[in-house]
């Protein structure tokens, strides 16, 4: 059965050692709670890797956007190892290189620049989300969180 409500799986790395991991997490929330709540689904990386069936089904069913905080790209790797398709790999460091004025600081609590960097990253990703899950498929859903 085809799934009319096509979505995009958002997989942040959520690394705990550096602010960039926190930015990835915050960007995931920006996308799934604020910017594209109806066409995205947040997937916890820990669940995915531990073979949680629901998480694996989500990345098997929907294209994924992996948001990684460091060059090791754990989120992207894990999506692929779980049988999913990475439609876009986003490295927080790359986004930061284009927005040097937004230096993220703080791991438990990001500074304002870090929060802004997360928002910038999320906004850049929305274009890909709209391509993968076209806006017209969202019409008629009443705008509620999916």
């Amino acid at each position: 059965m085809s799934d009319i409500r096509r979505k995009v799986a958002i997989v942040p790395c959520s690394g705990i050692g550096k602010p960039y991991g926190t930015v990835s997490r915050e960007a995931g929330y920006d996308l799934c709670e604020d910017l594209r709540p109806d066409t995205t689904e947040l997937v916890a990386l820990s669940r995915l890797v531990m073979g949680d069936e629901t998480a694996r089904q989500t990345v098997a069913k929907f294209p994924a956007i992996a948001i990684d905080g460091c060059k090791l790209m754990c989120a992207a790797k894990m999506v692929r190892q779980s049988g999913g398709t990475v439609a876009q790999e986003v490295a927080v460091l790359d986004v930061y290189r284009h927005h040097k004025d937004l230096k993220p600081e703080g791991i438990a609590e990001l500074n304002d620049a870090g929060l802004q960097l997360a928002r910038v990253l999320a906004e850049e990703v929305t274009e890909k989300i709209d391509e993968l899950a076209p806006p017209d498929t969202r019409r008629g859903e009443g705008g509620s969180h999916g």
Binding site: S14, I16, R25, E33, L42, S46, V49, L72, C74, A108
Partner: protein, 150 residues
């Protein structure tokens, strides 16, 4: 040198993005690392741990670890055991909340008051476990010993 701890305790938080309890696990681990036991602990990055970070796995094989999970899936505990060694202690935030009679954490992005209380309680519990482990295992790596947390 004698005043330095010979063993550090690794803290592995699930950091689950989907649940407020995952946020609690993450913030509690960071509280212990940055404020409560900064010289006695390190955090291990769970994604890297799972994705093949050999240094993380090696650390957890020879140092005691405390896992902090948000829910009963216990991803951090299972991952640590699967890829490295049995955690010295494992905590599940849900259990601590229930045992402490705390309110339900809400707000995975910004915790409510109950969530912040859960962070306090979880961090305090982890810090106590760190003390216990370091006193019991001076200079030696022990794994397979179950701690008092869950």
């Amino acid at each position: 040198m004698d005043s330095l701890p010979k063993v550090k305790v690794g803290i592995v938080a699930c950091s689950g993005e989907e649940l407020p309890e995952g946020t609690v696990s993450r913030l509690a681990a960071l509280r212990v690392l940055h404020e409560l036991r900064p010289h006695e602990t390190v955090t291990l990055c769970l994604p890297l741990f799972l994705a093949g970070g050999e240094s993380e796995r090696a650390f957890a094989r020879v140092h005691p670890t405390i896992t902090v999970d948000g829910c009963d899936l216990r991803c951090a505990a299972r991952a640590t055991e699967m890829y490295s060694a049995t955690p010295a202690a494992s905590i599940v935030v849900n259990d601590l909340v229930a045992e402490g009679g705390l309110g339900k954490p809400e707000g995975r992005r910004r915790l409510n008051e109950a969530g912040r209380q859960a962070v306090d309680a979880t961090a305090a519990h982890v810090a106590a476990l760190v003390d216990e482990l370091l006193n019991r295992t001076p200079g030696a790596a022990t794994s397979g010993e179950q701690g008092s947390g869950k």
